[in-house]
Symmetry: C2
Subunit: 333 residues, 2 copies
């Protein structure tokens, strides 16, 4: 049961060779005679030998083939799509993914960074949830590359992959304005992340550029989950002068919006940031972008740093597309 796994020297002993010869044989290094190699491999098989990569990694430089990803809960399709992309790209390079859930809590996030660094991960990918000024110190911590996803820490020059928040928001705003809407509600998440802030700023700028101040009474921020979004939107629609259109700044909030609009006779127009499964079925107009690609690009940047790439921090921007599916084309009433 709890027998310790066999070691290389046990294999060597059984094959009647030295430790190093066994090592060479099993690692496919040159300078092992065919017969010897054969015997070693047999011995290993019989013993059920398996390399201890802890020991190997310690010896070969104190680093493991692990890459850490710290994000919010994988139950959120945004994070799981990102994780999927990260994993796919890492696997191409023989790296393994360690996922850790910060619950979007800055303190927990920080301790996870520590834990993963202790594990000697080769790189760390982070979707910062909380206040992220802490990364100033941690950055390039003894050569462990950091890549930030979706929400680069404010004022920190670091490798990062983000969504074209300004552009996407622009598209949404233009689309609704073109549809004749003026009273447009903006329902946004917590403003502490740079991505949410960028979406709010982008929207505000677009409205200003269009000379439309009518939206201002309908700005709602700090809406962090679907249930709150549903309630908030219900309240908005109960106003004397309700908005004729809604723009929700992420998938969770869009879900809440769909619940709030369910069964309504003449629902307001709706555009949501982030595409989502079944958006085609329910006919929701969205600002789509490839979240899996976002993960993949982040993993790619990390891999290049691991490979020794030096040079200034790079930023990859994932483009957005407006996909019209009906909800965003409803006219103002």
């Amino acid at each position: 049961m709890h027998t310790r796994p066999p070691t290389l020297s046990q294999v060597a002993a059984r094959a009647g060779v030295s430790l190093k010869t066994a090592s060479r044989a099993l690692n496919g290094e040159p300078y092992v005679s065919g017969a010897t190699g054969q015997r070693v491999r047999e011995a290993a098989d019989e013993l059920g030998y398996r390399l201890n990569s802890l020991a190997r990694d310690l010896r070969t430089g104190g680093t493991s083939p692990l890459v850490g990803l710290i994000s919010g809960d994988l139950a959120n399709p945004f994070y799981s799509a990102v994780a999927s992309g990260v994993e796919r790209e890492l696997r191409r390079h023989g790296l393994l993914l360690v996922t850790a859930n910060s619950d979007e809590d800055g303190q927990l996030e920080r301790s996870l960074v520590e834990a993963l660094l202790e594990r000697r991960v080769r790189a760390l990918l982070v979707v910062p949830g909380g206040d992220s000024r802490e990364y100033q110190r941690v950055r390039d911590d003894h050569g462990v590359p950091f890549v930030f996803l979706d929400r680069p820490p404010a004022g920190l020059a670091a490798d990062s992959v983000l969504i074209d928040n300004a552009g996407g928001t622009q598209q949404a705003a233009a689309h609704l304005l073109a549809g004749g809407h003026r009273r447009i509600a903006l329902v946004a998440d917590l403003v502490r992340t740079t991505s949410q802030q960028a979406r709010i700023d982008g929207f505000t700028a677009a409205m200003e550029a269009a000379g439309n101040p009518d939206w201002e009474p309908y700005l709602r921020t700090g809406v962090h989950d679907a249930a709150t979004a549903e309630r908030t939107i219900g309240d908005l629609l109960a106003l004397d002068d309700p908005p004729t259109a809604l723009f929700t700044t992420n998938n969770r909030l869009t879900t809440g919006a769909l619940r709030a609009l369910r069964g309504l006779d003449r629902p307001p127009a709706l555009v949501g940031f982030d595409d989502f499964e079944l958006a085609d079925v329910v006919g929701t107009t969205v600002i789509a972008h490839d979240m899996t690609e976002l993960g993949r690009q982040a993993a790619r940047l990390a891999h290049e740093r691991i490979g020794g790439h030096t040079g200034p921090p790079r930023t990859v921007v994932i483009p957005t597309t407006l996909i019209a599916r009906g909800s965003g084309e409803r006219p103002p009433r």
Copy 2:
């Protein structure tokens, strides 16, 4: 940049103490004077010391605080919900989750098992994708506990957590029969997994028990993705004598069904196995079960084995509930 991280002996040297004293101080062991402890901690801080858990783990027994989860793509909400539950439970015990995507390919799965065992994970959780006879050998491989999720390898007694497939299928069948349906199409995934097989068997048994052979022409298996499901269901509905109801055996297939039924005047009834986001919005009747809980239970079983629990393999069954939301209550035409 690529300076090697400081080691414990560097900390010790700087604090003017021995290696062991530094170790004691940093690990909060007794028998260190306050002043000494203080000095060591300062030295560590100044150097930016961080424990190398590779080295520690090697020394303390050759095992890491990592637990591996091998499943299909996290982009599938089923797997990501499971992963979320696993991670949450592991975190309570200070364990980290390494996720690996098998793409539901048996060969890749096998190599991932090897890779994770080499990493000396403390336990391995597997959602077997392919033919899983291989686990006979691997099971309890030198004390590394295995837990199987959703699809226990046929004929292998091992810790596992599964969904009440028979019960859930029963509920679906009974619900549709009670609604007056006879020509019920069963759209199922690849039969090579035990869970799919159990759902098909359960459905067949329920139809036999009800004395209804009319469903037989409408059995479709081997449908592995949403697009194929959409096409398959389109074909079914184009038959001279189309089914009046559909039962899809997982979330992917239900998604395909929703696409196939979109815009239809008089769509057939639909019940899907697995709950999914927005099912309430689109009004789909499902056989729901808690996938996150499935992950959590699996992690719990693994943790108990890690803690030394011996005894016969255990099986945890996650119950199912039928949630009527409209689509399953449409009468036969």
